[in-house]
Symmetry: C2
Subunit: 456 residues, 2 copies
C-alpha cells in the first residue's frame, strides 16, 4: 500500500505543500480537502476584485482544483474536515453539498486551515448584512450584495490593511464609506506618526474615518438585517452593509480538539521544518505561529507570502527533502488610494514591548532626483537600537514608487545591520530612480546622528 | 595661525568633504578650488537637462558656490590647480579668467579631481563638433550646439550608460541618432543576454545601434568640424555632432606628477578612511580606486553616489571624526526610453575573471500580481556560486517599477547571503506591488534549483 498524505485546506499553504510533496515523491497518494469553492487563490486580491480593478474572480485563482488534479492530487472540494484522530491517523470529513461523511487515513497530515475573521462579541454581529472578508466565498457574497444595487452606505469595522482596502474598494464603486477603529490612527502596526499620514490619505479620498471609538453593537432592523453600527461613544452610523476588518485569528479549533499543541501566541506550534509536536502532523499558513527574528517572540502573521513559503517547506520535507522556515520580521505593505505605506521589523510599540531601547529618525526625500519630473515625496522612518545602532524597524510612506523600497530595509534588518553599515551600502543611483543620496541612506545618516547624539 | 584644508575640485566628492570638515571643525580654514563654472552638481542629470526633461541647468546644482561660501568655505571658481608640492604642503593655482597665478598652503589636502572622458586615439578626435559629457560645462556646450538648430544627425561613440542616455536625450529632441559600440551588446557591464534586451529597447526608440564595430576615425570637413564617424568595418556614419560615451578614466595627472601613489587599477590608492599614502593628503570621488567586495580587486567606479559618500568620509575624518568607506559591489541602474535595467555584484564575465565558479538562473515575472492592472514584466537574473550557493551577482531588466528592486539584491550580496537564504526573506507583498512570490524570491528559487542540480 502506498504512503498517503492528507492536506486540510486547499489555499496557499495547503496547495503549496501538496504540490511540493507530490512533485518530489510522485508515488505519494495526496488527498486535499477544501471546504470552499476555490483552491490556491489570492485572498489579498479580493478587495481589488470587489472594486472592479481586477476584472474576473478567476484571475485571483493561481491554481484551480482541475490543475491540482492534473498534477495528481486528489482534491475534494466543498468537503470539510470535522475531526482529526491523531492516534489512528485519520480525519473525518463531511461533503457540504452531498451531506455525506467519511474517514480518510493518513501517514502524513498537513494542517492548513488558515484563519477566521475576528468578530467583536457585540449584539447584532451575526445579523444579515454583516460580512467578513476572509475567504474567496466571502468576497463572492460581498460582491453579490454590492452588485444588487441595494447598498449605498457601507461601514467598515476596523481600520487595518484589509479594512482600508475594502473601504477603498467600496469608495471606488461610488458608495458612502465610513471606517470605525478604536485606535487613534488606522493600521495599528504602523507608528502613530505614520498612521496619521495614512489617515490623511484615506480622508482625502472622501472615506469617513471614525477613530478612537470602538464598536458597541450593531443595530438590526425588523427584517433581521444590520442597519447601523453603534459606537462606544454613542454615535450611530447608518449602514446598508457592514464589513468586518478587525483582522483574523488562527483557525485552530480542529487542532485543539485533536490535541495538536498550540504555542503561546495561539497559533499551532511548529518547528523549523513545519512539524507540529504530534508525529506525522505538519502545519503551515495563517494557522501557525512563527518566530519573530527581532522580538524572538512567537507571533501569528496571516499573510499569503508566508503561507506559500511555509507550505513549500512542509511539502519539501514530506517529500524527503530538507527545508526550513526561518521566521518573520513583520514586513507588510499596502496601497490606500494613491498613498503607499510599508513597514518592516518592529514598530516603536513592538520594540518597547520586546525590551529594546531605541532612537528614531524620519526623513522626507523623493523617489527620483528632486529635480526630476515625477519625483514624489517619500518618508522613511527608522528605529535603531541605542548604542549598537542596529536597525530594529523601518516604515515608509509616500506615493507611487515609494513603498516597495521597504524590501531593502527588510533585508538590512534580516541581516542585523547597524544604521552605520546601512549608510555605506552600494545602492543603485540614477536621477530617474533616486536622489544621489538614496532616501534609505539619508534616513540611515539621520538615524546614525540620533544614535551618536544619544551615546553622548 | 589656524589649520587650513585645501580641496581640489568642487563637485560631489570635494564639496562633501569641504562641507563635512567645516561643519565638524568650524575653526578650520577651508579653500576649495574649482576650475569649472559650477559646484556640487549632478553630472548624471546632464542627459536629462539636454533632453529638456529637466528644465533648468540650475536644477542640477545641489549647492552653489554662494551656498558653500555661506557655510564658510572659501570657494575659488574657475581656478585650476596646476601643481601640488607635497613636501611644502602647497598647491599652485591659476585663475582661468584673470590669468593670475598663486600658491596656497595646506595642512590637509583633499584631491577630488574626478575623471576625464576616454578619447580613442584616432584621427579627428579633437575636431570641432566632438564632445565629451563629463562636466556640466560640457553639457552646456553640447546643449548650445543642439539649440543652434544646426544639428540633425548625432553619432554617439560608445554604448555605455552615458552613451545611451545621451542618445535618448538627442532622440527626445527629434534628432537622428546612431550609437556605435565595439561590443556585441551595449552596456558591457551587463551580461550579453540582458544587454540584448537593452539593445532591443534602444532600437524600439528608433535609435540606430551599430554593434561589434569600433571607431576607426572621425572624418573632418574643410571647416575643421567633424562630419562623419568611420568605423573599423569601413562604415561611414554622417554626423553633425559626435558625442563620446566611452566611459571615463580617473583624472590623476596632478597626483602622478606630485608623487601621490596610484593603485593597480590606475586610480589613486586610498585606505579605509580615504587617506592617500602621502601624509595629510586625502582623495575621494571618481579619481580614487575602491575595493570590490566580491572580486576583492581594486576598481575605479565613477558614480556620484560613491563620490558623495567618499567625500563625506574624508571630511568627517579631517574634521576629527571617524568614518570609513567599505567598498563597492558594482551596483548600477539606468533608464533607456521606457526600459529600466540595473545590475549589482559581478557579471558572468567578472565572476569568471575573479575566479568564481557559478551557476545562473533567470526568471520572467511581474512587478505587481500577474492579474493586477499595470503589472509589467520584470526579468531577474542571478549568478550564484557553485556548491555554496552564495549570490555573486544579479541583473534586473523591465519597465516602470522594475529596476530599483535591484537594491534588495544588492543588500543580499553585500551581506553574502546564499540563494537559499534569499528565498526565505520576509519581503513585502500585496497585489499592487508584487506577486505573492516576489520576483526576487522566484529567481532565488530557480537559482537554488540550479545550485542543487549542479551539486548532483
Amino acid at each position: 500500500m502506498s504512503t498517503r498524505l492528507v492536506v486540510i485546506g486547499g489555499d496557499a499553504a495547503g496547495g503549496s505543500a501538496a504540490s511540493q510533496a507530490k512533485k518530489r515523491r510522485p508515488d505519494l497518494d495526496v488527498v486535499m480537502f477544501e471546504r470552499g469553492r476555490a483552491t490556491s487563490y489570492s485572498a489579498c486580491g479580493i478587495p481589488y476584485w470587489i472594486s472592479g480593478t481586477v476584472e474576473r474572480e478567476a484571475d485571483l485563482v493561481a491554481r484551480t482544483p482541475e490543475q491540482h488534479r492534473a498534477a495528481g492530487i486528489d482534491v475534494r472540494m466543498r468537503t470539510e474536515v470535522v475531526g482529526i484522530d491523531t492516534d489512528k491517523g485519520a480525519v473525518h470529513w463531511r461533503d457540504l453539498e452531498a451531506g455525506t461523511e467519511g474517514t480518510e487515513y493518513y501517514d502524513d497530515l498537513v494542517y492548513a486551515t488558515g484563519s477566521v475573521p475576528m468578530r467583536p462579541p457585540v449584539d447584532g454581529i451575526d445579523a444579515d448584512g454583516v460580512y467578513g472578508v476572509q475567504v474567496l466565498d466571502d468576497g463572492v457574497a460581498l460582491r453579490d450584495e454590492l452588485d444588487s444595487g441595494r447598498v449605498r452606505r457601507v461601514v467598515v469595522v476596523g481600520g487595518g490593511y484589509i479594512g482600508l482596502e475594502i473601504a477603498e474598494a467600496c469608495r471606488v464603486r461610488g458608495l458612502d464609506v465610513t471606517v470605525v477603529d478604536k485606535s487613534a490612527t488606522p493600521v495599528g502596526t504602523f507608528d502613530p506618526d505614520v498612521g496619521a499620514a495614512i489617515a490623511e490619505a484615506v480622508r482625502c479620498e472622501d472615506i469617513e474615518l471614525v477613530l478612537s471609538d470602538g464598536v458597541a453593537g450593531i443595530d438590526v432592523g425588523p427584517d433581521g438585517r444590520a442597519r447601523a453600527v453603534v459606537t462606544e461613544s454613542g454615535r450611530e452610523l447608518p449602514a446598508d452593509l457592514v464589513v468586518l476588518g478587525l483582522g483574523v485569528r488562527p483557525n485552530v479549533r480542529l487542532a485543539r480538539e485533536a490535541g495538536i499543541p498550540l504555542g503561546t501566541s495561539g497559533g499551532i506550534a511548529v518547528d523549523q521544518r513545519m512539524r507540529t509536536r504530534v508525529p506525522g502532523v505538519w502545519a503551515a499558513g495563517d494557522c501557525v505561529e512563527s518566530v519573530h527574528r527581532l522580538s524572538k517572540q512567537r507571533v501569528v502573521v496571516a499573510l499569503g507570502t508566508h503561507a506559500n513559503k511555509q507550505g513549500r517547506v512542509a511539502g519539501i520535507n514530506i517529500g524527503g527533502g530538507y527545508a526550513t522556515f526561518p521566521g518573520v520580521i513583520g514586513t507588510a505593505i499596502t496601497k490606500i488610494c494613491s498613498t503607499e505605506a510599508a513597514r518592516t521589523g518592529l514598530s516603536e510599540a513592538e520594540a518597547e514591548a520586546a525590551g529594546y531601547a531605541f532612537v528614531t529618525a524620519a526623513v522626507d526625500s523623493t523617489t527620483k532626483a528632486g529635480y526630476f519630473p515625477g519625483a514624489s515625496v517619500i518618508r522613511v522612518k527608522m528605529i535603531a537600537e541605542r548604542f549598537s545602532g542596529r536597525l530594529l524597524g523601518a516604515q515608509v510612506v509616500g506615493r507611487e514608487g515609494a513603498a516597495k523600497r521597504v524590501d531593502a530595509l527588510a533585508i538590512c534588518i534580516w541581516n542585523e545591520m547597524t544604521v552605520d553599515e546601512v549608510l555605506s551600502l552600494d545602492l543603485s543611483y540614477a536621477p530617474p530612480f533616486a536622489p544621489v543620496w538614496d532616501p534609505v541612506l539619508i534616513a540611515a545618516r539621520k538615524a546614525l546622528e540620533a544614535v551618536e547624539a544619544d551615546r553622548g
